[in-house]
Assembly symmetry: C2
Homo-oligomer: 353 residues x 2
DNA sequence: CGGTACATTTTGATCGTTCCAATCGCCTAC
DNA sequence: GTAGGCGATTGGAACGATCAAAATGTACCG
């Protein structure tokens, strides 16, 4: 007895099964699947019925192979566990899904070695493009070597080490760090603040440098002094920020306000201030960066710069899709604006009250 | 002039190019790629040199097609933007990457309609398995219909609607919600608390029901009363929790402690308490669930249940990989333990002081 | 009735890889 | 001298889809 009866359990249903099932050729079934106007109404109905009956699922990999296309995009993030990037990823996936692409995820945990490995692995799945938020210290040359020049790359959030800025062969989407920090600083100055510190972040990171530059720009424009001991480094998280709070008050004159590297740092600083008996929003002004969910809910609510990570995710996806449509266009650097959100943590200096 | 010279810009390098480049057959190159012991040392060296020279990248899709295998796993989450799931996703990706799989990401935004669409789309890419944290109200029958029985499914965090619990055809990884809430309640009781509320979450969600059941269990075991107005519903986020705070005090006797649905709710509740002049951790005891990053840093630090989302992610991946190794084994329901973390937000009742 | 236009369908090759069954040298044994 | 064995290599058919070109059938026109 040959095995010709029911479509048995394990094997997957293919075009050929459907074709056999309703006595047409594979090509016709393929045309039906793609909604071609070439097929006769009755045939289409018969085929569609058979597709349903057998529970067919399309094999996009096979189609992509033959058509030399791809329907996936790789998303490689330095820290998916960070809510900012989680939101970003959500936005990316939203937009890609809408355009019929699937997201290949890779998380590098801020290690450039893992980044290499992850990129190499994802490339074997032939993504149409890559969205990369590089790990700290990730080198342009290495990334270029593994990614090659066939797969469009969109860089998000950070520059790569050693890349000549204007002529890098990839698109970039960056936040307007400098302008954001300038806005925050100008806002403090407008409130009457004069002794303003820049608090948190690593000097090495490009985003920290840009934000510091914005701070310097505003201070200089207002003719205010910048004391060296008003720049405090710390890891970009709450715990370290709280611990470093004291450093603001080692030397006189002590600042009465601080522009912080980001919200996590700002919240940590506020915690540290409380512990010293200094009340943020009354005795000391604080601003953050990112507008994470807690910023609106802290006590006092935090003045900060909204970067809309989900919208940035959608934007990144759009930029990459645009590049796929026109691979020849010259690479672009897009700078997403950030928006100053004024809340109670920024206040005039005590003297002015 | 025919175009036979340098490997020109756009076309991708294939096995055939390498084979031609060093005068062997495609089959030999394939053997080299897979590290077969059949090939001669010298040939291997020649081929490997050529691979490097031409910058070959393996096409896993083609290989998967031929071998009828798959090297991807779909990860479908109801809310990637939630830090808990972001951590979970990180753990999943870590473990899958280590096992040579790639993660196909899908975020459903808590909509079961989108969940259907996302599942269908991901299935076309033929994942070896699926890890699904269902959207609220996602129906077992519909999921089963689109996923079919060929692709192993691992359910995380929530049950599907309308699934007969013990004999569902898929594996499950759940948190020990009931025991966790019981531990928290018992802890409050041990501190001398007698009027304990259950605060937050939606009655519909299975995790909320389980946590509430644990609360009830502990209260009854201690012979303590459970007033109906001590169960307050609210959306599982800070804002709504803060807004609902007042509901605890509408009727006498008012509670002096609350077991909260999760950390977000607990933090919101503490905010609400402050606004009413009630100091959490002194006048009123609060516990959470999840142990998110902020829990340790809030004022006061929050007593909660640690669920280790990243470890759960790794575990989910392991469970699915195990299932791929042995597709015939009977489906299992795994319950991950949670751990009580005692911090300053839980205190004895004011009367006892 | 032959020719041509049109609508619909099919054949066979192809994408980049792997598998199977040969094949090719080359050495040894009888 | 030939049969057999062994290491190394290879040709060609798959996998499941698509595409280009050719082949049907049907109708209409002079």
């Amino acid at each position: 007895m040959a095995t010709e009866s029911t479509p048995h359990a394990n094997r997957k249903i293919t075009l050929a099964d459907i074709a056999a099932g309703c006595d047409v050729s594979r090509a016709t079934v393929s045309l039906v699947l793609r909604g071609s106007p070439l097929v006769n109404k009755l045939t289409r109905a018969r085929v569609e019925e058979e597709l349903r009956r057998q529970g067919y699922v399309y094999n996009r990999a096979a189609a992509n192979l033959r058509r030399r296309t791809s329907s996936s995009i790789a998303l490689v993030l330095n820290d998916l566990a960070n809510p900012f990037f989680a939101e970003f990823a959500t936005g990316v996936d939203e937009a890609l899904g809408g355009a019929g692409y699937v997201t290949l995820l890779g998380s590098t945990g801020e290690s450039s070695a893992r980044e290499q490995a992850v990129l190499a692995s994802l490339l074997e799945h032939d993504p149409a493009g890559i969205i990369l938020s590089p790990a700290e210290g990730s080198a342009a040359a290495r990334v270029l070597a593994t990614v090659g020049m066939h797969t469009p790359l969109l860089l998000f959030n950070r520059e790569l080490d050693g890349a000549a800025s204007p002529d890098a062969p990839w698109d970039r989407l960056m936040l307007d760090n400098q302008r954001g920090a300038r806005l925050a600083t100008e806002h403090l100055i407008a409130l009457g603040q004069k002794r303003i510190a820049f608090f948190g972040g690593h000097q090495g990171s490009s985003s920290c440098q840009q934000r510091h530059a914005g701070y310097v720009e505003a201070m200089q424009a207002a003719g205010l002094p910048i004391e060296p001991h008003w720049r405090i480094e710390c890891a970009p998280n709450r715990v370290d920020a709280a611990a470093q709070c004291g450093a603001l008050f080692f030397d006189a004159p002590a600042p009465t306000a601080a522009v912080c590297y980001n919200d996590a740092v700002a919240l940590g600083l506020m915690l540290g201030l409380y512990q010293r008996g200094v009340q943020p929003g009354r005795d000391f002004a604080v601003t953050g960066f990112d507008d994470i969910a807690e910023a609106a809910l802290s006590a006092p609510p935090l003045t900060t710069l909204a970067s809309k990570p989900r919208a940035r995710g959608r934007q990144a996806a759009e930029l990459l899709l645009q590049r796929l449509r026109d691979p020849q266009a010259t690479p672009e650097r897009t700078v997403a604006p950030v928006q100053l959100v004024i809340r109670a943590s920024s206040c005039p200096p005590p003297a002015a009250a």
